[in-house]
Symmetry: C2
Amino acid sequence: MSPRTPEPEVRQRLIEAAARLLADQGPSGLSTRKLAAEVGASTMAVYTHFGGLPELVRAVVREGFTRLADHLRAVPETDDPLLDLAALGEAYRANALDNPHLYAVMFGTASLGGYRLHDDELDEGRYTFDMLVAATRRTIDAGIFRPGDPEAIAGQLWSAVHGYVMLELAGYLAADREPDAVEKVLNPMLTGIITALVA
Amino acid sequence: MSPRTPEPEVRQRLIEAAARLLADQGPSGLSTRKLAAEVGASTMAVYTHFGGLPELVRAVVREGFTRLADHLRAVPETDDPLLDLAALGEAYRANALDNPHLYAVMFGTASLGGYRLHDDELDEGRYTFDMLVAATRRTIDAGIFRPGDPEAIAGQLWSAVHGYVMLELAGYLAADREPDAVEKVLNPMLTGIITALVA
DNA sequence: GGCCATGTATAACGCCGTTATGCCACGATG
DNA sequence: CATCGTGGCATAACGGCGTTATACATGGCC
């Protein structure tokens, strides 16, 4: 078949094709045969490069967290850490709504192959989480938040936004049902959490 | 094969077997053939009674919400609505931790068959949500919460607890990583949200 | 009796993940 | 240059899957 196309890094092309299939058709649309057709190779490519489909999905999860981290990194760091925190939350939500299937796989991977996240993936997610911890720490150092454990505070913010986004993705807070859920639910919840933390 | 065993309601036995398989082996362990073997019938039973596996899963989701509602109903209603709210949250979390796979399917169903929840399932979930709304309304009527939209307030509490539980199930707040995450993350978050609501 | 509707079992189709096998290209070695 | 070993690949097969077509059995109704 002479696939002497550029062929740059079959590994990366497989990860990107998998993320694309996941985003377009959801987890059920991901198969070694479709992947092989997408990248112009045989199904064996998945096994030589990753060992199997679950490992490929894990790589996609890492990719998803990397994209999320890129989105969060794009949020400018101003002199008002509290506004930065709000912007981080908004960027987090936007990323999830832009890649709903990928986001679902990142946090519900147990539903796909029946496996659990390994420490690597958890660490990948926690690295992203660290950006939120850093922003929280800046807010404390600026004297806006009372002194406290930045990780615990960031965990609260993460839980709140993540839970809201999950409900939104599941359809419980969809725009056609709750038109202004952001103003009525998300924002008051976050201001409630935050005002309890300010000095 | 003379399946003249009691055979009470093949429909219900299929739902229960599916919930059991889901709880034991996760979504990947759920198959028409295993179900048929479990209930002593052929795979056709799934199609005559439900139309297909996705519809059966939807029935299981409804069953999961019913169980959750039962758990929440078991929480006694005291004369302190705020304590009742806290007890509801604890019961919610306990139910999710007891049936992690089922809980994941209830909220991440997109990951299983690639389908979305229909209005029926959403309504089922919202009925459960209504119990939280009622408890919130009682808290307002008792003069503990300032007057406000009970649904919006309940949505905040739901988002917060749901997000925390999801992170916990995914392993980000697992006991071995964050030993006292409940005290450091969940409880402060909820008290923050709640103190912002008290009169 | 005959007739229909309903639920079932059987068997097949196509797709899936995974694996065994053989091939081929290529760098190292002499 | 010739040889060899090795890593990545295509091919083909195996078993399991969801789904469907089909034929059979059973029970109510005329």
